[in-house]
Symmetry: C2
Amino acid sequence: MNTGTPSIEINEVGPRDGLQIEKAFVPTEEKIALVDALSDCGFSRIEVTSFTSPKAIPALADAQEVMRRIRRPPDVIYTALVPNIRGLERAIEVGTQEMNLVMSSSETHNRANLRMTRDQSLAELTSILHAAQGTSTPCNVSLSTVFGCPFDGDVLVDDVLRLAHQLAEAGAAGITLCDTTGMAYPTQVAALCETVLRELPGLPITIHLHNTRGMALANAIAAWQTGVTRFDAAVGGLGGCPYAPGASGNVNTEELVHMFECMGVKTGVSLQPLLNIVRGLPQLVQREFSTPLLAAGHRLATHQPPAWLAEKFGPADGVHA
Amino acid sequence: MNTGTPSIEINEVGPRDGLQIEKAFVPTEEKIALVDALSDCGFSRIEVTSFTSPKAIPALADAQEVMRRIRRPPDVIYTALVPNIRGLERAIEVGTQEMNLVMSSSETHNRANLRMTRDQSLAELTSILHAAQGTSTPCNVSLSTVFGCPFDGDVLVDDVLRLAHQLAEAGAAGITLCDTTGMAYPTQVAALCETVLRELPGLPITIHLHNTRGMALANAIAAWQTGVTRFDAAVGGLGGCPYAPGASGNVNTEELVHMFECMGVKTGVSLQPLLNIVRGLPQLVQREFSTPLLAAGHRLATHQPPAWLAEKFGPADGVHA
């Protein structure tokens, strides 16, 4: 099959995109411990928190304290979502190394999620990008709903390209193509990634997938085959979208790492410490959820055969022939 | 991206491969109703039951009655698993149109699952294939563990090819490459499918995937890209493997159908009646399990925006622009 690059980079977004919609408030100390544990796994980036208004996202009201107190090994870039200039200032105060701005490529989702029209959001993001240029802090922009909007349906590729061009011209250091509610399918992912890579050469492109309809890993392969090398993912598959009933979480980091490492594609991420974190997640977010890779283990985590086999067939010599 | 054929065939294996490991016995009438409902969905084949000893698989002890009493629309092929000549005779008595034989490509799994060595299984299957030739009933062979064995680990491609050649020579009408416990990954699937298609030209090849580690749909795409056109799948993702802790079910039929239809690849299967069946599955098997596509709906099943949007932004004119 067509293959992509021999290594990819993973941006772990669980602490922000996962925890922001959890009902139980995760205590600040536990958020810090989560990020610190993730720091030892080998991620390129960790999206730590969001500098939104505590009223809008109470789950992440402790953004400044978390960002200030996490450990900072030098090979990880610590990022955060910022919605406005005030958020940018607060994020910079506590040493956030890269900003993630966000707007939707579809009109209704932008209005529902950000309470602004797309034009208003574009103006807001442009002002943040200009302000950030003076601080030499790179700002990535996550474009939501590029593979479909839960209100408006399919989104025009031209709308995505127009926004990506405008944001790149305004100074975006990269664009993330977000399948916000899990509407993307493989041929669509391949087509849009190819188009964006061709139309915006040199601009780092990240893909952000959700597993709502089971296609997250298939879509990851499709993106990788086009040359995309940066992937958002959330440990345990945390996350979701309040505006799309049934929308499940982000692509599961441990499944993404496992798949690419099986294929010989280097992710930089170590599976075992990551699975140790997954084991603690239901306790952390105070609800049960399924952790299939933790249950099954690595594909080559083999098992002892049933004891009666040796009795029936004699010693195992030659069994592995 | 590289694409496969514009249409595929789906073999629904839920009634056999799914129900065989359910703890609650599904009453005969309900099994018949399940198969009859599946018959209206558009599958090429339905694997109805298994003519194994009722002692070995009590869940399918009613094989003959189910096969005798299901409706038989003419465009569906009704198949069953048969483990030996006695099973073949029982299956033929009740009008089974195609047989599915099974053995493992790895030694230890064959011993654990079938209580025979691979050599013994090969002799048994050869005798069934020869007996079936006199009845003009086609026999497909499902080769288990071709992408890895939960006891022996990776399986040699040469072992798979040798068995496939021997079974084809003995009269197998097709070979199914089975990822019995969900150990396959996309590049591996592509490589083995390419090899088997090249080495056994003209022999129909089916792929049988499990979703244990989240890769079922990614593996389906990889197989389809090589030219494989036949897919096993189980409605609701029913199924599993008793010998691999954590091994989850078969690739979910509704997710497979949804993905390929989104890509414009015809499956022949209608999603809506299939989802109606999925809705009844937890009741049928007397346990809860997750049915994500039923919860989320088709990717274009869009939602009403929140009511406050119109108040804040005025009427929706232009929202969809």
